[in-house]
Every structure is written in structure tokens, then in C-alpha cells.
């Protein structure tokens, strides 16, 4: 049985369409919904929580229908037995940490002794022992975030929804918290849906990722598949540093093909061949520049080597961004201090770039949800 199932979800606000036909099913684990702001990801989460009523569609949690607009079913949020962690924590400023966490348990008429036990256990779990008598205003941002999490966990929900929970924390704390959050969710063994605009965060935390744009799901797959097989140019450009170029298939054999890139002085690159792509068709290639090798001297092999001219270098501490002009395009290749790929004397010099087949993704008219994800 799936923990969440969504069918035909539509929602329009005044003049903008937040959800434009969203369908997916999710069995168990952690699912991230990734996308830029305004893509509808938060609306989707709020619909699942029952905080927002969609214009059309249906939602099941744990196999039970929660929302079904056509049948007029709408289970109120307080009966959905879920946890929700808000972007701004949404801690009640007039209650102590203890009362914040105990709030839902009290409403459920859990016996006082059990409440105490569960509140303290949750606070312990999130790493905040002995702070139960403080008020939210006496806590740091990270601590407040943990209280918000404890508040949801104390309810022992079957599903926890997190709306950009880390976006208010500073960069360092955010990295720590996301690892911790992942451990925590695994430890209590519940399912979670995690909304974020940070792909790194999504990849670290989740088992599956949904990429959304303009109210539509563009791709639903494992982090690995999304990275390697972006199904859409938007997905590709949204995930990591990459360059998107148009190409024409020159030759296609088995699972490989050669593609000519007009922008790169008509250079030819060999890459994996998606099913059904034939000679003469146009396609788009996504080149992940983080996987490109750069050298001032020619490589031993000749296949998949491009030639360009170094235009400038930007030092970023341990990293260096190299701007390289290839044909009519400029691309940025980053090298690490520990493995300098290049020692170029000055700008304006000729450089060579090796693009491994694995660093290239091909976008064609594939279905939005990849085969692997659909199998889950």
C-alpha cells in the first residue's frame, strides 16, 4: 500500500495555476519535492495536509481517501494524523517548548503521564533535552527547528510533511541538520515528504525526488536517475552546473550514438543513446561541467575531446572557475585545488576538454516519470 497517492490535482489561485494535473504515488521512505519558488510544490504539500482545498483531484494517505473533490470528501487536517513542519517553524510564542510539543497530545486526551513521557522522548530524540521550560524566543533558530520537528514526531504520525524546514538556517547549520534529519527520519521509520528548492538537500535526504515546474511534475525518480537521466531540459538545468546544447544525431549504433553540436564548431560527441532515437533527429545534450576534464595539452584519446580558448579564471578559495570559449558558447569548468587539471600560463591560450560519455545526458521525448520510479 502506498503512503501517499495523488490523482489529477488542480489548483488555481486568482491568476496563477499552482497545480496543473499532478499525479503520483509514493510507497515508503523520504520523498523530496524539488523546484523553484512558485512551482506549486508548497501548494501540493498543503493539499496533502488538508490546509489547501484543490479545485479538482483526489488524495489518499495510507490507502484511505483524504480528499476527493468530485465525491465531496475532505478530511480536515486535524483528522489526517500527519506531522507538518513549517518553514518558519510556526512555534506558538505564548507556549513553552513543553506545551508546544504537548499541544496535539493534550487535544487527543492522552493521559498526562504519557504526554510527559512522549514529549520528553521527542525532545530527546531531536537532541534538545532539558529545554522544555523555555519559550521559543529563548531558543536559537536551529533549536526552534528541532522543537517544531519534535512537535510533529510526538504525535507519532504515519507521515510527516516538511515545508522547506531548513531554509531559515545558516549554510553550515543547514548541512549538519539535513544529515541529522535524514538519520532521524530513518530512526523513527516513518515516511516523509520534503519540500525544498535546494537540489543538494533533496538528493542528500531523499529516496525519491519529484521535480516540479509551473504546477506540473517534470520527473519523478531516484536522485541518481534524476542526475544521470534528466528527463527534461528544465530538470537538467535545475540540477547542478551544466550546459545545454542542441545537437543532431549523426550516427546511431546499439546504445551509443554520435551527435554533432553546431554551437561547438560542429564538433561531434559520443553519448548514450536513448531508446528509439534515430539518425537525423535533433536532440538536446546536457553536459555536466563538473565532470569535464580540462587540460592545456591534448589528451591521449581524440574521441569526445573539444577545443576551446581560456577567457578568464576566477579563484574561489579551493576551487577555480575556468571560463572557456568553445565555438559560439562559453562554458564554466571548475577545478579543485588538490587535483589541478591544468596549468595554463595566461588567458587567450588554447585548452582541451575531455567530456566523458557519463557526463552527457540526452533529452528526447521521454515520458516525464522514468521507468524506474514508476516501478516503486
Amino acid at each position: 500500500m502506498s503512503i501517499v497517492k495523488v490523482e489529477g490535482l488542480y489548483k488555481t489561485f486568482a491568476d496563477y495555476r499552482a497545480l496543473d494535473g499532478v499525479d503520483f504515488e509514493f510507497k515508503h521512505g523520504v520523498l523530496s519535492i524539488l523546484g523553484p519558488s512558485g512551482c506549486g510544490k508548497t501548494t501540493l504539500l498543503r493539499c496533502i495536509a488538508g490546509l489547501e482545498v484543490p479545485d479538482d483531484g483526489a488524495i489518499w494517505i495510507d490507502g484511505k481517501v483524504q480528499t476527493d473533490i468530485r465525491k465531496g470528501i475532505l478530511v480536515p487536517p486535524y483528522s489526517r494524523e500527519i506531522g507538518f513542519v513549517f518553514q518558519n517553524y510556526a512555534l506558538w510564542p505564548h507556549m513553552t517548548v513543553y506545551n508546544n510539543v504537548a499541544f496535539g497530545l493534550k487535544l487527543r486526551k492522552v493521559p498526562d503521564r504519557d504526554i510527559r513521557r512522549r514529549v520528553l522522548a521527542s525532545l530527546d530524540l531531536v537532541g534538545l533535552p532539558k529545554l522544555e521550560d523555555r519559550y521559543p524566543s529563548q531558543l536559537s533558530g536551529g533549536q526552534q527547528q528541532r522543537v517544531a520537528l519534535a512537535r510533529s514526531l510526538a504525535m507519532e504520525p504515519r507521515l510527516i510533511l516538511l515545508d522547506e524546514p531548513l531554509s531559515n538556517l545558516d549554510a553550515k547549520l543547514r548541512e549538519e541538520m539535513r544529515v541529522e534529519l535524514k538519520k532521524l527520519i530513518k530512526k523513527v521509520n516513518i515516511s516523509a515528504i520534503y519540500v525544498t528548492h535546494d537540489q543538494e538537500e533533496a538528493f542528500v535526504i531523499s529516496d525519491y525526488v519529484i521535480v516540479m515546474e509551473r504546477g506540473k511534475i517534470l520527473q519523478y525518480a531516484t536522485p541518481d536517475d534524476i542526475y544521470n537521466w534528466p528527463a527534461h531540459q528544465f530538470v537538467a538545468s535545475f540540477i547542478g552546473r551544466s550546459v545545454l546544447v542542441d545537437g543532431q544525431v549523426m550516427q546511431a549504433t546499439g546504445d551509443e550514438m554520435k551527435v554533432m553540436i553546431p554551437d561547438f564548431n560542429r564538433a561531434v560527441l559520443t553519448c548514450r543513446r536513448p531508446n528509439g532515437v534515430a539518425v537525423g533527429e535533433t536532440c538536446q545534450l546536457v553536459i555536466r561541467t563538473s565532470e569535464v576534464k580540462l587540460s592545456s595539452r591534448p589528451f591521449e584519446q581524440t574521441e569526445n575531446v573539444l577545443q576551446g580558448v581560456m577567457t578568464s579564471r576566477d579563484y574561489r578559495g579551493g576551487l577555480t572557475d575556468h571560463r572557456v570559449q568553445i565555438g559560439s558558447r562559453e562554458i564554466v569548468v571548475t577545478s579543485h585545488k588538490l587535483c589541478p587539471m591544468i596549468s595554463v600560463e595566461g588567458d587567450g591560450n588554447k585548452v582541451f576538454l575531455y567530456v566523458d560519455k557519463g557526463a552527457i545526458s540526452v533529452i528526447s521525448d521521454q515520458p516525464a516519470v522514468s521507468a524506474q520510479a514508476a516501478a516503486h
Binding site: 490546509l51 482545498v53 487536517p77 486535524y78 518558519n88 505564548h94 521559543p136 504525535m155
Partner: protein, 544 residues
């Protein structure tokens, strides 16, 4: 919803009657006659213009001053914390009509205290101040508008996330600039609430136009409404004239609703914990103290002293006034204290005012909560309906109420009087509550909701406790106002019922200034002592 129907009934009665031909109550037939008379009245345009300048000017002036005071009290390190907290409170206690009388005495061109002093000190022959002019009207009514500005904005500033301001300071913004660019914009919903209410109060206020406007030849629109009642005895015509005021108030409300449409923008109480911090405004803090003190002087101290002296001398003219205290005469106090229903009436109205304040404020919060936090169909309409009673002349509204209850067992009971006061003050309670609720981030409700709370839990455990500071302000204001209300109440007072304001404030109505001053002084002393004791003995915090 009960509150809704309670308000709707008299409102509908009043509106329906404006389409009838009846002069004296009886509904004879449907007619547009009243409206035709209004539309063909050539005088109304200049009067309307005066009204808008007067009401708009004083609302803007008063609300701004109130907002500044609230900010100083809530957010700055102005010295003399207790004093600064108390000083803006006292002027609230002074009934507007007392302010009118005091400022007429101060600013009259020939007989006014200030002009005479200037003449004696500097030999300035022509009058510098003129109580009977538009600026003076705006000045005096503006001072009475400070109250709402102060009480509505104080809770907003008290719950303000200081990081919003601090980031501006760090970016090099000076305090005043930060105030204007960061702090005030976030207080817009509460500010507009107070502004709209003050504007509507100004449109229908009668005391200032009568006491200061008409002697200066400044006619305002509301005198048309008043004449329809007092010489035409025609409530339908009065309502038809008021329709113009209703249109203006709806326009003002639409402005409010549109501005606060994206209410999330204005949430200053978020689920992110923070400590409300006092802002160090440097040398400005002395200026701030002086500003509060000056407001205290002009808001109550100076007019109060003028009234005390006036109540103690046989009659007012400048010469007699300056002879004080050689000519003290306690006759006015003697008369007031021997008033037959002074004590019992005051007791009744105290009790009723407390009940009305509590009930009205609570109902206002429930209504605002329904409008802004639930999806009850049509609840937005109550934004308007709840405010419309403000646009009616009090007597017309009172009449609508009488017709609504005349055949019920409530007629001539305290219940009917209570209902009248409730309707009169509900708009204030609603505006105050909706301004305040908009300032609470919706996530705080939603967090409760997803964690198992039903609406009643959200309301009682989250919203209500968070609204505490604004509830306190609204209770205080409505209590003070209800205590002196006579306009709406008068028709609903049963024969033989002793009701404080009607007896105490009749001196104001009949224009006995010395007795009015004496009654007002007694009344004010009671309130001032109460507030001061509450502050110092029971340590009631008037600013949270």
C-alpha cells in the same frame, strides 16, 4: 452569526425605511423621494468637501500621532518608561466634547485664552488662533483620533520581530528612516483599521462641527443628516443623506480590504521565536520623551486645567479666568454632586459598560477570526456589514433597533440597551480584531490545525492568547466609550432606568459648560485615579 443578525436587522430596517414616503415613522409606500431630495440638494457638494477635509485631515493627523506614540512606547529606549507608558493613556479618558469646549476656550479669536495672552504679552492685536476654523477643527478632532491610532498600533509594535528593523539599522538606515520604511509599512493593516474608523467617526461626528464649525461658517455634511432628524423628523431622509456617508465608508473599507488582501505580508507575529527588543534611538530618545510629554500636555493636561478652572469660576470670560483663584466658586460641583441620579446612574453604566466591552470585543474577535481564518461562505461580507453601523447617524440606528425589538419582550429592558451599545461598538471591536489577526502569521493556526486542533481549539488556545495585547486595548477603549455613550443608548433607556451617561453628560448636551466641566472633572478624576492605581498598585501593564 448571532452578532451578524443582530446588526443586520436594524441596518435593513433603516435602509428599507429610507425608501418610504413616511415622515413620521409609518411606512406608507415605496418611494425614491428621499433620495431625489438628496440628489437635488445643491448644497451637499461643498458640505461633503468640508466633511472629507475635516474627517480625513483629523483621521490622518490623529492616527499618525497615535502610531508614533505607540512606537515610542513599545519600541524605543525613551527614558522614564512608566511615565511614557502612562502619559498617552490619560488623554483617552477625556471625552471628545470636553476637548472641544476646552479648545474653544483656548483658541477663540476674541475671548480665547491664548489670543488674549499673546495680546497682553506681545501686543499682538489680531487673533493668531481661531477655534472656529478648519485647522482648529482638525486639531481638536485629530487629538481625539490619537486614541485609536495608539491602541490599535501598540500591540503590533509590541509583537514586532526586531530583526526586521535591525537589518535596516545595520544597512545604515537611520531610526526615522527605518521607522518610515520598515516599521510603519508592516503596521499598515492596524494603521488603516484605525484610520478608517477615525475617518468614519469624523464623517459623522457632530460636536466639533457644531461647536467649532458652525460659528466659523463651516458646514459639514452631517448637519444635513442632523437637520433631517431635528427639524424634519424624517429618519428616511436622514438615512438617504447617510447613504452618502455609507458610500464613503464602503469606499474606505474597500481601500482597507484591498491593501490588506495579501495579509501574509503583514504578519509580524510569526512562528519564529524572537525577543521583542527595544531599539536604541540615540539622542532621539530625548526628543521622543519630549514628544510624549507634549502630547500629554495638549492631549489632556492643558485642556484639563482649563476645564478645572472653568468649573471653579462663576462664568468664563478671559478677565474672570485670569482672576482665578481669587474667585473660586463651588456651585457647579454642588449642583453636580446633588444630581438625583449621578451615583446610581454611574453605577449602572459602569456595570453595563464592562459587560458590553467584554461581549463586544469577544464577538469582534470571533467575527474577525471567521472572516480571516475560516472559509465560511460569505464571511467577508461582514467586513462591510459589521462596519456599516458606523455610517448611520446614531439616532437613526437607534430607531432601527427600537423597531426591531419593539414587539419583543426585550423592549424597555436592559437587554435592548445592551444590544444597542453592542451594535454601536461592534465595528470598533471588529476592526481592532481583524487588524490584529492579520498580524498573526497564518502558519501558527495551521500548525495547530495539523496537530489535531479543531477550530475551537485553534481559537481558544492559539488565536485568543496571541491577541491579548490588542484585546486589552479594545476593552479599554470600548469601556471608556460605552461609559459616555448617549447617542445610541438614549432611545433604548427604559423610563425609570437610571443610566449614567445620560445624566452626567446631559450637561454637555444642554451646554452648561461650568457644570459640564465640573461633571467631567469628577468623571475624569475617577478614571485617572483608577488607571493610576491599576498601574502602580496592581501593576497592570497597559503596554503588555
Amino acid at each position: 452569526m448571532l452578532a451578524g443578525s443582530l446588526i443586520v436587522t436594524p441596518v435593513i430596517i433603516v435602509i428599507v425605511r429610507s425608501f418610504t414616503t413616511a415622515r413620521l415613522g409609518a411606512a406608507v409606500g415605496f418611494s425614491l423621494d428621499n433620495y431625489m431630495r438628496v440628489l437635488h440638494d445643491p448644497k451637499i457638494l461643498p458640505m461633503l468637501q468640508n466633511s472629507i477635509v475635516y474627517a480625513g485631515g483629523s483621521a490622518l493627523f490623529g492616527t499618525l500621532v497615535g502610531a508614533m506614540l505607540a512606537w515610542i512606547v513599545a519600541r524605543t529606549n525613551t527614558p522614564g518608561k512608566t511615565l511614557v507608558e502612562l502619559m498617552p493613556l490619560y488623554p483617552i479618558l477625556m471625552p471628545p466634547v470636553m476637548k472641544n469646549i476646552a479648545w474653544v476656550l483656548l483658541l477663540s479669536p476674541k475671548s480665547g485664552i491664548l489670543n488674549n495672552m499673546l495680546q497682553q504679552a506681545f501686543g499682538i492685536d489680531h487673533p493668531v488662533f481661531n477655534a472656529f476654523s478648519m485647522p482648529a477643527m482638525i486639531w481638536v478632532f485629530g487629538l481625539t483620533c490619537v486614541t485609536l491610532g495608539y491602541l490599535f498600533l501598540l500591540p503590533v509594535f509590541l509583537s514586532f520581530d526586531p530583526s526586521l528593523e535591525e537589518s535596516a539599522y545595520i544597512a545604515g538606515s537611520r531610526p526615522m528612516r527605518t521607522l518610515l520604511r520598515i516599521t510603519f509599512p508592516l503596521a499598515i493593516p492596524a494603521f488603516l483599521s484605525a484610520l478608517v474608523l477615525n475617518f468614519l467617526r469624523g464623517l459623522r461626528s457632530f460636536e466639533t462641527p457644531v461647536l467649532q464649525g458652525s460659528p466659523g461658517g463651516i458646514d459639514v455634511f452631517v448637519s444635513k443628516v442632523y437637520d433631517s432628524m431635528s427639524i424634519d423628523y424624517n429618519p428616511g431622509l436622514a438615512t438617504a443623506y447617510s447613504a452618502v456617508l455609507i458610500v464613503l465608508s464602503v469606499a474606505a473599507l474597500i481601500l482597507y480590504v484591498r491593501t490588506t488582501r495579501f495579509s501574509e505580508r503583514y504578519a509580524t507575529i510569526t512562528g519564529k521565536g524572537y525577543r521583542v527588543k527595544v531599539v536604541d534611538i540615540g539622542w532621539w530618545k530625548y526628543a521622543a520623551f519630549v514628544a510624549v510629554f507634549v502630547y500629554f500636555l495638549i492631549g489632556i493636561a492643558i485642556p484639563f486645567v482649563v476645564l478645572i478652572i472653568t468649573s471653579l469660576i462663576p462664568y468664563y470670560d478671559y478677565e474672570t479666568f485670569m482672576k482665578f483663584p481669587t474667585n473660586v466658586d463651588l456651585a457647579s460641583y454642588h449642583r453636580v454632586m446633588h444630581h438625583p441620579s449621578f451615583v446610581s446612574g454611574l453605577y449602572n453604566s459602569l456595570a453595563l459598560s464592562i459587560v458590553i466591552a467584554v461581549v463586544t470585543v469577544f464577538a469582534g474577535i470571533v467575527m474577525a477570526f471567521t472572516i480571516y481564518r475560516t472559509k465560511v461562505y460569505g464571511s467577508k461580507v461582514f467586513e462591510f456589514i459589521g462596519t456599516i453601523p458606523l455610517a448611520f447617524p446614531p439616532l437613526v440606528l437607534s430607531l432601527g433597533l427600537i423597531i426591531a425589538v419593539i414587539d419583543s419582550p426585550f423592549y424597555n429592558t436592559l437587554w435592548a440597551l445592551g444590544a444597542g451599545l453592542f451594535i454601536a461598538y461592534f465595528p470598533y471591536a471588529l476592526r481592532n480584531a481583524s487588524g490584529a489577526i492579520v498580524n498573526i502569521h497564518r502558519e501558527l493556526d495551521e500548525a495547530a490545525w495539523v496537530h489535531g486542533a479543531r477550530w475551537r481549539h485553534v481559537f481558544f488556545r492559539v488565536t485568543l492568547p496571541l491577541l491579548k495585547p490588542s484585546i486589552a486595548g479594545a476593552l479599554f477603549y470600548i469601556f471608556i466609550e460605552a461609559l459616555r455613550n448617549i447617542d445610541v443608548a438614549v432611545l433604548l433607556v427604559a423610563p425609570g432606568m437610571e443610566y449614567g451617561p445620560v445624566t452626567l453628560f446631559e450637561y454637555f448636551r444642554v451646554g452648561q459648560w461650568a457644570e459640564a466641566a465640573a461633571g467631567g472633572v469628577i468623571y475624569l478624576v475617577i478614571l485617572i485615579v483608577t488607571v493610576t492605581i491599576a498601574k502602580f498598585v496592581f501593576n497592570v501593564k497597559f503596554s503588555l
